[in-house]
Amino acid sequence: METKTALITGGSRGIGRELVDIFLESGYRVIATCRDKTKSKFMENKNLTVENLDISSKDSVEEIQNLVEEIGVDILINNAGITNDKLFLRMSESEWNDVINTNLNGVFRVTKLVMKHMLKKKWGRIINISSISGAMGNPGQTNYSASKAGVDGFTRSLAKELGSRNITVNSVSPGFIETNMTENIVNEEIIKKIPLQRLGKPSDISPLVLFLASDESNYITGQTLVVDGGLFMK
């Protein structure tokens, strides 16, 4: 079988880092991105390419276009994302824009890069790391929830556009996962509300992403799949 290539944005820490490791272990070729590769330690691996990429910047995304098109990305994992929590009353327009520009516009920019190759191959997987905050709502996260709900809508429309080309598009929505992102916000009160009584780990998310990237998931598209210990039940 040919080796497929996965592009994983925000591969330096947290969920993205776990994804880089599990995809390499599973025999994929991986392009991992972060904003400053000199600051993040990756293990040497012949199947791993690390690139600087700031998804909030159009120029930065354009800089990796040639490389991405040369290698050809079969699986895109839009994982990079930020929070900037504030009560709405105190939120400035720039705090709003930062989060939308990274989490939502960033997904637009990076997904553009991989389209040609997937269309040509008539095979592709786009997996967007969303958040239950998008569907559930969370105080202090109007900007973040809006961005992630936007990602889920993007997922559904793009899934409909690309279905005939055998390209699937899905979102994975984590609940509270132990990473830098949640360091300062998680407390006992939150854990009490989670039926499984604990925070998630990046390794609770990665097997689902690996499955969605595989051929076995080929009849699943346009979905938002929740991994949250039961916190948010629709």
């Binding site: 040609k116 269309l119 690309l162 005939s164 080309r165």
Partner: protein
């Protein structure tokens, strides 16, 4: 047939899985050859690659027939 026309016909037939015998310069991708909207975008991508040109979006929209593709390519390469 010109070289460009030949290549365009090849690309269109390959992309849309139609027979060369069913195609003429006036053939419209959507109306005559059954292309959907994504096919037309993919056709433009294929022309760009084959002829090493970049077709701006507003001009790409006007390329709806074999003839209009050939004219654009001959006028711009």
């Amino acid at each position: 047939m010109s070289d460009v026309l030949n290549k365009v016909v090849d690309i269109v037939c390959g992309q849309l899985s139609v027979d060369k015998a069913d195609v003429n310069p006036e053939s419209a991708f959507v109306e005559d050859l059954g292309a959907d909207s994504l096919d037309t975008v993919e056709l433009v991508m294929a022309f760009e690659e084959e002829f090493d040109v970049e077709i701006p979006d507003d001009e790409a929209e006007k390329i709806t027939t074999i003839q209009s593709a050939v004219e654009w390519i001959e006028g711009n390469s």
